[in-house]
Symmetry: C2
Subunit: 221 residues, 2 copies
């Protein structure tokens, strides 16, 4: 019985890791769709989200069943408790990738982004993919040290996001308001993706140590 | 023992309702800060958020203790399971109010919003406050019908948000890009506040009925 129980816990943890991997891939493809006006990539992100949503529902059912049937305590209860919260964060990461992909799809075959912010988005995309990877690794390794790396990557994202606003309000900016607004919202989707990855790390630290690290202060945006 | 247990469940539910009420008040004050360049209101929203964050931590501890010590099953387990998810949504509603307040604070004594979008934000503020109230009522009454009302209010918010973008891309728009970007992001904060209130309703329906209503499709933004 204990073996089946631990098998269920391991399965739940593996599912979270897989969901995180899918969210990272979705953001990678969404960035490709955005930068290269790649409509096939956009469509794939949008179509694949159903799979992530189904995995979310399945993971929630498994977490519920674990609580109902196994009544875990101590560290194992923390695992399930954290999983319930992590599931929501990871699904949101995937949804943010869909937001990016839907804008690319709507504007296709036009490229959404003006030349001067393309590099910034390429960099935000790289950091987002790295954050997805790191969050997945933390979920699999249960290593609280990995959560610190997530923070560093999030700091890099915050710097890029601030840099994006610097470009947007620069006197040299010569694009329509609609382009500016879309660029700002797209930036926000990357920044929120990073925040959710950091949140995954915080919850893993709670599961492993019983202590929840402090949250970052809420920024202006 | 059963009595103490139900007292704990009731206390958790009451805390969620109170948190929701605080998030609604925060968005009301943040809207006042935004529309009237009322710096005292902005400061109050920012300062009060610590209380909501502390309530979140306390509610999570209580939910954890309920699972660990009482090992609820069936409907009572659904209550606690839903509570864990609702806590995160309600805290996020409060954080979005802080985002609005911080922009008002940063721009003070200047008014952030151009004249032509003020009415739209006044309306979004009203809908947000109504959503906070409705979510609180649903939490207290456990009435799944109330969740339907949340959906209607969210539809109203979506209409306002779309209308805001109509104003932003109108040829008559004559403001700096920075104003346009800030206006768009502010609109997004209200729209997300509404989404989280709807999510609270979905989770209450799950707690009461065991069925989780379908999510809305992800929109372009």
């Amino acid at each position: 019985m204990r073996t089946a129980y631990h098998g269920q816990l391991d399965h739940l943890a593996a599912q979270l890791g897989e969901m995180c991997g899918l969210a990272g891939i979705a953001m990678k493809r969404a960035t490709q769709a955005l930068l290269e006006a790649d409509n096939a990539a956009a469509q794939q992100v949008i179509g694949d989200h159903d799979r992530l949503a189904a995995m979310r529902a399945q993971a929630e059912r498994e977490a519920f069943a674990l609580l109902a049937l196994q009544q875990p305590v101590a560290g194992e209860l923390r695992e399930v408790f954290a999983a319930i919260q992590i599931i929501a964060d990871v699904e949101r990461m995937g949804a943010l990738a869909v937001h990016v992909a839907k804008i690319a799809e709507r504007e296709h075959p036009k490229r959404v982004l003006p030349e001067e912010v393309r590099q910034c988005f390429a960099d935000m995309g790289k950091v987002a993919i790295a954050l997805g990877d790191s969050a997945k690794q933390v979920l699999v390794s249960r290593d609280p040290q990995g959560a610190a790396r997530l923070h560093e990557q999030d700091d890099a994202m915050d710097d890029l996001y601030r840099g994006l606003f610097g470009l947007l309000i620069d006197d040299d900016w010569r694009h329509d308001i609609s382009v500016g607004v879309e660029t700002a919202l797209l930036g926000r989707f990357y920044e929120r993706f990073a925040d959710h990855a950091v949140e995954v790390g915080r919850r893993v630290v709670f599961a492993v140590t019983g202590e929840l690290p402090a949250e970052d202060e809420i920024s202006t945006y």
